[in-house]
Symmetry: C3
């Protein structure tokens, strides 16, 4: 039996909004350590990895490992029915082919998880949504820990704004990291654009800092379309980190407060073939 209770239910809504543009169907994997997901986008170019650790849940019961295949648009439809302050509980019986999302308004205490007892003891409003699970073939890729040439940490809203702005000019972004800063460039029919963010750690609020850890300078090119998809995760975290190496996919990571992270992986485009839309894995 599975029963996961998350007081901050809006976080699940944000997680779904962050990944459902990229991934249509995916397996959510539950184990004793947490609730996770790993999936390729439909064109098999980008990879998304989600982890919500069990400690982050108010109540976490997972009797045996479970892989639940879901259509993310359908999950999103159901989660959109939860109020922003609702407590969300995910439930599945062993061997069942359905999952239940339960939403409770937070104002009052609840004695029972059974809807029918709620009439007497529970809250003013309670909703449960039951969804059929799907069988989804998926290979779980091992993602090796890697050393990166450069790691840039910056405000997530700034990164989102830059990707959006550059998209109005071109299709790809060249990211160049030096000790002093990170430069985002693009080129298109109407002209060229360069946006430079200087390293700065002397800001009032730590989440507004731009911090660069660099072993060697690195310059890589990526498809802006995917970068813009990744920035759907911006509401989850005030900062984003970009990990770059010349031989490796970039990792765009959004931490999820105390609980885990969403990481997006995207292979760089080979510069010579920049006109070719298909990235090189």
């Amino acid at each position: 039996m599975l029963e996961l209770r998350l007081v901050q239910g809006s976080l699940l809504k944000k997680v779904l909004e962050a990944i459902r543009e990229l991934v249509t169907d995916a397996n959510f994997d539950c184990s004793g350590t947490g609730f996770s997901l790993q999936a390729m986008d439909s064109s098999h170019v980008a990879l998304v990895a989600l982890l919500l650790r069990s400690e982050g849940f108010e109540h976490y019961r997972c009797d045996r490992n479970l892989s639940m295949g879901m259509n993310l648009n359908n999950v999103s439809k159901m989660l959109r029915c939860a109020g922003n302050d609702d407590i969300v509980t995910i439930k599945a019986d062993d061997g069942s082919d359905t999952v239940t999302f339960m939403f409770e308004s937070p104002s009052q205490w609840i004695l029972s998880h059974s809807v029918f007892f709620l009439y007497n003891f529970g809250q003013d409003k309670i909703a449960d949504f039951e969804m059929k699970l799907m069988d989804i073939d998926s290979e779980h890729l091992g993602i090796p820990e890697a050393e990166y040439h450069a790691i840039v940490r910056m405000p997530s809203s700034e990164f989102a704004r830059i990707c959006k702005d550059l998209s109005s000019i071109g299709d790809t972004v060249v990211i160049s990291v030096t000790k002093e800063g990170v430069k985002f460039s693009t080129k298109g029919d109407i002209g060229t654009a360069n946006i430079v963010c200087r390293q700065n750690s002397t800001v009032d609020k730590p989440e507004e800092a731009t911090i660069i850890e660099m072993k060697e300078p690195v310059t890589l090119t990526f498809a802006l379309r995917y970068m813009n998809s990744f920035t759907k995760a911006t509401p989850l975290s005030s900062t984003v980190s970009l990990s770059l190496s010349s031989e490796l996919p970039i990792v765009v990571e959004y931490k999820i407060a105390e609980m885990g992270y969403i990481r997006f992986y995207l292979a760089p485009k080979i510069e010579d073939e920049e006109e070719d839309v298909k990235p090189q894995a």
Copy 2:
């Protein structure tokens, strides 16, 4: 001659927005007692009844009963030209085939209803819109007073949210009332949903209460499409009441502050034919 002056002109705008999705053309009936409308929706499934009592108007003059046929989209276009704080006056001469809507900004006193005198005595801005009336055939249905098995009073925004949420899952809603609460359920391709609202009268604000008056439990099924149309009236009132009987159409009523009401009537669907879209009257 007809001359109705409503200080809270925004109320008329809300009334129009509440009904124009359901009804295209309708007769507005004016008599000594008030301003009213009764109309079926175009598929003759739902009925809307509006009453604005004469006492609610600042000035109400109706020399003889008058039935004015109007296209509600055109009325809405004109009313959208009124500011939210404007005073609205509806005028029609006896035997005239036009109606005039006059909008005055509320800041100053006005001595004359004639536009031309306004230059000297009146307000800074005044607008009048004249619209052709239409001949509309309509039978006025007598709606008998009925006893209902159950009446649910609840926050109108909550009811609107529930109808909207369930629409993302299914096409019909099953409403079940027991002493303890009211349950809204639906079923669709992606799964099922149940939302339970418990009776609660011990809330801080009376308009947030959910109150159930019940003679016997009742369970009825309705098309969500119509329910969602009815909730366009939500801005008119902070509460809504649902009156249910197994043999009768549901009445969804929004009170209009001190003045009257909008009532929507919808026949339940017969459960066995749930797949059939056409409700049974």
Copy 3:
């Protein structure tokens, strides 16, 4: 060499939004006295004239007169990448076929205009956008100073609201000015509308006044489509002035704080041919 630095960069964004619906491609003319533009709309019915005087810029260097042809949608795309508080610098080298827009966030002082020195001395974020210039044939029309029968100054938001409201009823607006006020009227399939604004100078805030300077009464008819385009300039100024003469195009002028103006010119329609869409110059 050209280098224009405007602290209030959002003003340029507003200027572009004000004219790009009307004009697609246009020459921006730079001289010692200022930055200006004059262009006809694509159907050669309306004329727009922009002036930003050199004194309004923080830094204004223009070594020789320069006419820079630009596609306004492309300029708008680039300017939308500027933050609302950004300082905008426009740069062009003599003989160059490109123009550069540079955006700096305003929080810090910047020592150099070179992007590459910025790493050491400059701001946290700096963006530069380079755009190809175009060759655009255009005749510069001399607009003679004229005496107008009537000049109406009124709140720009009120004028915008009136044009929008009347557009929901008809296609043309009749503007009648008398000593007491200005009347905007229209007629359409669904009815007629008249909006009267009385002269009032005794308001608390001068920008809310409606002031009429009149030598003789004047009544003219204009296409609402163009009037609505002109009101895109509303964010630039809290007041608008309408200059009318029976033999001349109307001038709809929005002052740009301390710096200059946008003026729109539109020929009146000849009343007898009101059904004919093409105005008479």
